[in-house]
Symmetry: C2
Subunit: 101 residues, 2 copies
Amino acid sequence: MESLADYFKVFSEPNRLTVLETLRPGPLNVTAVVEKTGLSQALVSKHLKLLTIAGVVRRRPEGSLVFYEVIDKGVFQLLVQARKLMLASRRQQLDALAAIL
Amino acid sequence: MESLADYFKVFSEPNRLTVLETLRPGPLNVTAVVEKTGLSQALVSKHLKLLTIAGVVRRRPEGSLVFYEVIDKGVFQLLVQARKLMLASRRQQLDALAAIL
DNA sequence: ACGTAGTATCACGTTGTCGTTATGACGTGA
DNA sequence: TCACGTCATAACGACAACGTGATACTACGT
């Protein structure tokens, strides 16, 4: 939240990205995320908290359940763009390698 | 490089972002980056290596100097987009807080 | 009031990352 | 070949992040 680097850090963890992807289609409660991801409940709870603090996700208690939902789906566009750049980088790496060999 | 999370990790470090920003205008050799950033030489070298491995930056030895340059300036667009989302998140956070108070 | 399901948090061990200091490697010019 | 500037790497300590197991908290139904 502090710096831009901290914001990137939010997405720099595989399990956290998995949790985030789970919420792509729509709101889910914690247990649902746990089941979909196969991660431990404590871990999912932690990641959801972090995502909440980062302002990526909104927490909405409903009875005894707690639903989480992505606030701005634009984050997924960020993921897409990052993946594009990443793949382009890889291509470039291979080309550089091929140029040597 | 492996996963998308790893790619995000590249940008999740303040000093590394600083180094990257330094290369925005154009290629620079290591010492120049050191001077512009005020970071230690060893640290700059490390970050540049990481950026190179990530395919964000290209290494080009020239005599006894080693120049680094950003391969795809599209990365800066990624930074911009991330910052936008981050600021939007902050606004949202404040609004949520205001709604409570 | 009690038990239970759902969620959050704590304490802990493990691992990874960052930064520094010191040293090594390389190219260049004298 | 020697000294120097430039860059990379190694070794180390400090610290943060991750994941787990256990435990607290809360809302609900009985």
